[in-house]
Amino acid sequence: MSDTILLAHGSGGQLSHDLVAEVFAASFTNPILARLEDSAMLADLGGGRLAFTTDSYVVRPLFFPGGDIGRLAVCGTINDLAMSGAQPRYLSAAFVIEEGLPIADLRRIARSMAEMAREAGVAIVTGDTKVVERGHGDGCFITTAGIGVIPAGVDISAANARPGDAVLVSGTVGDHGMAIMSQREGLRFEAEIASDVAPLHTLVQAMLEVCPEVHCLRDPTRGGLATTLNELATQSGVEIIVEEARIPVRPAVQSLCELLGIDPLYVANEGKLVAIVPEAAAGQVLAAMKAHPLGREAAIIGQVRSGRAGRVSLRTTLGAHRILDMMVGELLPRIC
């Protein structure tokens, strides 16, 4: 096989078959995929409602501290499922590859996806590859879709926040976006910023064990924490008030943000979640989160109020109040 992707790898002929067999099927080994049928035939998923989601991933550079586009594509879809309380089970993966991409890079991406899927207990059971001409893609784009099962009794929705509820975040915000940005800007820092990309379904499981009536879950990806809080406030028709001083931000992230004039509350995360839970359960949920490796720095950051529907207010570290708005425009690089 050649060392780089050729247009012929997308032709459907021998080269396409070799690519699928040697790079993808070899990494994602599982009996369902191994049949290489046009559709994956899934085992009976048992009772419960199904959750189904899809997302496309575009990131430059393809490899960054803390992860790569493959890990991002697997975790992102797992997390979308997890935010509905679902146990992720099966993923699909479709690749749009730019002519000229080194096959070694593609192999590295596939391996990283396989590793992540194995770790998370999901199987990549169907997929597709296409090749586009040089200059028509940023190396590699990945689209993943996922299916999961929502256990009985779980009812999580962005519309479920109620006045009095507590607002929690599972850890420091802004790590992923600033990790990408520091690579792109070529900014070298004493402490390298690593992406937080991680699958959150086991953290969610731990939270649901102590509090099955979690009201809302959402992973603050593009647009960051501020945008997610606005979505929750709008969809639930409530006001959310958060305390700036309680929102965890890594010092290295904070100082890079200051340097670039960026507010970390608008920076993307790939391994964090925002939870809104009944106030009475907040302490227990926080303890469960802190006991999980992905929630060690979790914090209660605010409260839901009846107030003005759809508004998010922030109490600044200096004690002033202001509106925390949605992000507008495209100030940040494309990150996912």
Binding site: M181, R184, P248, L318, R322, I323, V328, G329
Partner: protein, 365 residues
């Protein structure tokens, strides 16, 4: 959270605020030159914590906002030339020119790419040798050295397809123009930390010498800004008019000689057109000497793309906002027709624009 603690410590902030409240006896109007100060003050809620006797006016320190409609039209014309790729910071994309923006030009087929540093443009030029890559040079004394560095690198590599369209501007001449016009009554100037790190606090001496006003250089963290305001208030109360530097960790009197040398090597001072201020002599940077061959302007020659007459967006009062004459919320379009999603003028587009700051942080909402 060490960094936050150090420069945002609520106890120290309260002490500084107390100092400001104690000293501020008569009403004063201060201007923060720089949009970064405007945004930082809104973001931390500093404006609502100041005594009512202190009025903060925003100045013209937003590079995107002060780019004139005519210059923007030319940038759009450059981007629309066949074989040209225009590389620009994202902030410029949505700024309205006379007819559309770079964003609409891109949708219509112009090759416009968003970059995050001047080095990204070098990379595009290397990868696509058949394209002429025009770097859109917008920014003050802080950005210009990075552009100069990119050109030096291009020269070293023998990259023949990189050009710069320099709309770079110098801050002290704009401040002088505002003070000379006497349009707004000012009692003191809060000078920008980042720009002063390059040009030095001594570059602001004219404010004290020629206009008898206090001028204080301050950083952008909440405590830095409060310290700057406290110093200005104290100078006002004591009847002093001096240049003070409260941002000692970032700014020296002489500035950054290496960056200044870089600028002097690649650029010469020229006239520039500012939105709101018009043509200001010796307030811009044009390529000089052997670096003139990187100038993108000649690309427009022979193309009838030059628009007949540049127009400001209808009803937009950015010019007055940039001179500190009009409070953004008093613009009839503010928040009704003009929002960050649907901006009419540049002051609502840029993350440093003061209309955007007033809107985003919820004043009058």
């Amino acid at each position: 959270m060490r960094y936050v603690d150090e420069f945002r410590d609520p106890a120290r902030a309260r002490a500084l605020l107390q100092r400001i409240h104690d000293r501020a006896r008569r009403p004063v109007q201060l201007m923060e030159f720089c949009g970064t100060h405007t945004h930082a003050m809104f973001r931390h809620g500093i404006r609502q914590l100041l005594p009512p006797s202190i009025t903060m006016l925003s100045g013209p320190g937003c590079p995107v906002c002060v780019t004139s409609a005519a210059d923007l039209d030319r940038a759009i014309a450059l981007a629309s030339l066949p074989g040209v790729t225009l590389a620009t910071f994202g902030d410029m994309l949505r700024v309205p020119g006379s007819r559309g923006s770079l964003q609409t030009a891109r949708a219509a087929g112009a090759d416009v790419r968003v970059i995050y540093s001047s080095l990204d443009a070098l990379e595009i030029a290397r990868r696509e040798p058949a394209q002429t890559v025009v770097l859109l040079g917008v920014g003050f004394e802080t950005t210009a050295p990075t552009m100069a560095a990119a050109l030096l690198q291009a020269e070293k590599e023998g990259l023949e397809n990189l050009r710069l369209y320099s709309l770079h501007k110098l801050t002290p001449p704009a401040m002088a123009a505002i003070l000379r016009s006497g349009e707004v009554a000012l009692d003191g100037i809060l000078a920008p930390g980042h720009v002063s790190a390059i040009i030095g606090s001594s570059a602001w001496e004219f404010v004290a010498r020629d206009f008898a006003l206090p001028c204080t250089v301050a950083g952008f963290e909440p405590l830095d800004t409060l310290q700057g305001i406290a110093d200005l208030v104290e100078q006002c109360e004591a009847g002093i008019a001096q240049v003070h530097n409260t941002y000692g960790r970032g700014v020296r009197a002489a500035g950054n000689p290496a960056a200044q040398a870089l600028l002097a090597k690649v650029f010469e001072v020229s006239e520039a057109e500012w939105r709101g201020l018009g043509r200001v002599p010796a307030s811009g940077l044009a390529l000089c000497g052997r670096f003139r061959r990187f100038d993108a302007t000649p690309l427009l020659e022979g193309h009838s793309l030059e628009p007949a007459e540049a127009r400001e967006p209808a009803g937009c009062r950015c010019g007055e906002v940039l001179r500190g004459v009009l409070d953004p919320t008093r613009c009839p379009l503010f928040g009704r027709v003009c929002t960050p999603d649907q901006p009419v003028g540049p002051c609502m587009v840029s993350s440093e624009g003061s209309c955007a700051a007033h809107y985003r942080y919820g004043e009058a909402r």
